[in-house]
């Protein structure tokens, strides 16, 4: 009983650590530098020109 419990706790720690790793990966992928590079290279997007920005009142 106690043994299973501690095994599960260990598993929780491992999963939490993996979660952190995934968080880091998200942060790297979401960094503006990365997003800008991929948007321009892979999707062919460009920065909006002034006349393309429409302000809503």
């Amino acid at each position: 009983m106690g043994y299973t419990l501690s095994q599960l706790k260990k598993e929780i720690l491992e999963i939490e650590e993996h979660n952190r790793e995934l968080k880091l990966e998200i942060a790297f992928v979401k960094s503006p530098e990365h997003l800008e590079k991929r948007a321009i290279k892979e999707l062919g997007l460009i920065h909006p020109l002034p006349q393309q920005i429409i302000y809503l009142p």
Binding site: G2, Y3, L5, S6, K9, E17, R20, E21, K23, L24, I26, A27, F28, K30, S31, P32, E33, P50, I53, Y55, P57
Partner: protein, 648 residues
């Protein structure tokens, strides 16, 4: 049975009884010794046999930006080590490990042949590398987990965040300043394990109560990125040695971005030099140059000594005080106060300063926060150097009015402009919004702090109105105009002191632009400084475009609606922006020939067609000469000859 034998039996009974008593006594004594005298020691000895203490260090706290985006995060990564004595076939092992880790074989052999019992082969290896080595199933090679810190935004905000060492001590920036909160604590857990040493019952770690804590910064990742990128481009284009761009919210003192070039990547900080780690916005001091005129103006307006309409004599460009002649870049006669600031006349500034007087202007400069630390939560802040009135010569006093003879940190300058922007309150700048625990409970929250009130909100409004002129056409920084917004600011171009000659250099300059937008109710203050730009060193030319680009992005990001109609946009590329010397003082009079200097061929032809004048084009590039001269009455028959030269 005789009496004698009966007596013998009794003696034997006594003897046996005494023996039993003796043995019993010994047992009691031993029990006393074990239970009472040595009791504690022995029971703890026993506990050690079945209970285990598990020690581990918790991860260093995470750093987030104001929107909860990760700026710094620690995760466990594997490290590979070896016990050299247990390795049987050194050469074979080394070959395999070297191939798997892409390391030099000779290095690995050296490590495996080490005389020490324990040697790291590779610390903080990637998961793939660990997997590759693990699959080799080599004896004497082991794996363990270590914590490594990652900065996913790379250079963005790096000078603010700083970095932590391999063993998780904060070394620079916020990582150093808040190390006691961020640092992972060593946690010991008591529990019971079985005969094989496997843990049976352990209490869960109570990390929340003692840390490590996470930080939420005031920085905005997107704005910081834009500031860093724009500044990097500007420094490259102008050939400057370094650059700083600070974006701050004037109402609160929250720093949204603090970009510094030269930059470094905190993930591999050891590959950079210490001077590249330095946050120049806080740790370096410079002469502020003409940006200083804004504070002088504010002081004189506050004291009621001048109004924006007051006319002062600018002495036709040359003014002699105490044997020194101070010159303006362009000669002005009588100028209104608002124009003195717009054209940034040094002599005009002296005239304003003279009305204030030495001691009063000094006390205002102090009240604007110069000569004292801003109190930012960042290590290594400098307070600059402001001489007392007694120690200042007559000339020194007069040059102070246009920002010479005082050194200030760029953060001080930004916060002083913040006071003009927010209606006269000098705020304490801050970088950390709150400290939270692992369950997102707020441990400590930081609030805006007003350091002091300097000027009234009416004065601040007047100053902002005058500073708007700087950004308009004809001012020193039309390049700072942001489409759709009212913008105000002040340029500065300060000569640097040559350390060899101990005199002001004519080649080395600092270019500044400090401004805010929207100027009627400022949401942001941006300070841009470039150190020793090559070519044209003027703040209005090299620093103002950085302000415009970062400002436009920031206003969009903060959802500040533009106040101007799209159609009344400022010109993006007009001739007056190309060269400060070419500023047109008199707007073109209707019915006369316009000034075409600085225009391209196509623009000249278009204008001429509108006026119905024939043009003879000589050369190519930008117009440098024209005949007849501008201002000549316009007649239909006139043939305009314009000479062009390629821009240098």
């Amino acid at each position: 049975m005789s009496v004698k034998s009966k007596k013998w039996i009794r003696i034997r009974i006594y003897i046996t009884g005494i023996c039993f008593l003796l043995v019993l006594g010994v047992i009691f004594l031993r029990a006393y010794q074990l239970q009472i005298l040595k009791g504690d020691q022995l029971s703890s000895l026993a506990r050690e046999e079945y209970s285990g203490i598990l020690t581990f260090t918790t991860q260093r706290g995470t750093i987030f930006d104001r929107n909860g985006e990760v700026l710094a995060l620690s995760i466990d990564v594997g490290s590979i080590y070896c016990y050299p004595k247990r390795i049987t076939d050194t050469v074979k092992t080394a070959t395999l490990v070297a191939r798997a880790l892409d390391m030099g074989k000779r290095d690995v052999v050296k490590k495996l042949k080490s005389s020490r019992p324990f040697v790291w082969i590779k610390r903080k290896a990637t998961p793939e590398e660990i997997k590759r080595v693990r699959e080799l199933h080599l004896t004497g090679i082991g794996f363990t987990n270590e914590s490594r810190r990652y900065y996913p935004c790379m250079e963005t905000g790096a000078h603010v965040i700083g970095f932590a060492s391999q063993d998780n001590k904060g070394l620079e920036g916020i990582e150093l300043q808040y190390n006691q909160y961020l640092e992972g604590k060593e946690i010991r857990l008591n529990g019971i394990h079985d005969a094989l040493g496997r843990p049976l019952v352990f209490d869960g770690p109570e990390i929340e109560k003692q840390g490590p804590f996470n930080l939420i910064l005031t920085l905005d990742k997107e704005i910081s990125y834009k500031a860093q990128k724009t500044l990097r481009d500007a420094v490259e284009r102008s050939g400057a040695r370094s650059g700083v761009c600070i974006v701050v919210r004037p109402q609160t003192g929250e720093i949204l971005a603090m970009a510094v070039v030269p930059e470094f990547n905190p993930n591999i900080f050891w590959q950079f030099k210490p001077y590249e780690w330095r946050n120049r916005a806080v740790t370096d001091c410079f002469e502020p140059g003409s940006t200083f005129k804004a504070f002088l103006l504010a002081a004189a307006l506050e004291e009621g000594l001048i109004t924006p309409e007051t006319v002062l004599d600018c002495e036709d460009g040359h003014y002699t005080i105490g044997g020194y002649t101070i010159s303006d870049r362009r000669a002005f006669g009588m100028l209104k106060v608002s124009d003195i600031i717009k054209f940034s006349s040094n002599i005009g500034a002296i005239k304003i300063g003279q009305r204030l007087g030495a001691s009063r202007s000094h006390s205002y400069i102090r009240r604007f926060g110069f000569g004292e630390r801003t109190g930012i939560d960042f290590p290594g802040e400098r307070k600059g150097n402001l001489k007392s009135v007694k120690d200042t010569s007559l000339v020194g006093q007069n040059t102070l009015y246009f920002g010479q003879g005082i050194s200030v940190s760029l953060l001080q300058l930004a916060m002083a402009f913040g006071a003009i922007a927010n209606g006269g309150h000098l705020m304490r700048p801050y970088l950390v919004k709150s400290i939270i625990d692992q369950r997102d409970n707020i441990i400590r929250k930081f609030y805006p702090v007003v350091r002091r009130d300097i000027i009234s909100s009416e004065t601040a409004k007047k100053v902002r109105g005058i500073l708007e002129g700087v950004v308009r056409e004809g001012g020193t920084a039309p390049k700072a105009a942001i489409r759709g917004y009212h913008v105000a600011g002040k340029t500065g171009t300060a000569q640097k002191v040559d350390p060899v000659k101990k005199a002001y250099s004519n080649k080395k300059f600092m270019a500044f632009f400090a401004g805010f937008a929207p100027s009627d109710s400022p949401e942001i203050v941006i300070l841009v400084a470039l150190d020793e730009p090559k070519g044209k060193p003027y703040g209005g030319i090299v620093a103002a475009p950085v302000f415009r680009d970062v400002g436009c992005w920031t206003l969009n990001r903060l959802n500040v609606a533009p106040s101007l109609q799209q159609s009344i946009s400022y010109p993006i590329e007009s001739p007056t922006e190309r060269d400060e010397e070419l500023v047109v003082l008199n707007p073109d009079l209707p019915g006369s020939i316009p000034n075409l200097k600085g225009l391209g061929v196509r623009d000249v032809l278009r204008r001429a067609r509108r006026l119905g004048v024939r043009v003879v084009v000589k050369g190519s590039g930008l117009a440098v000469e024209q005949s007849p001269a501008p201002g000549t009455p316009l007649k239909k028959q006139i043939v305009l000859t314009v000479t062009f030269r390629p821009p240098c």
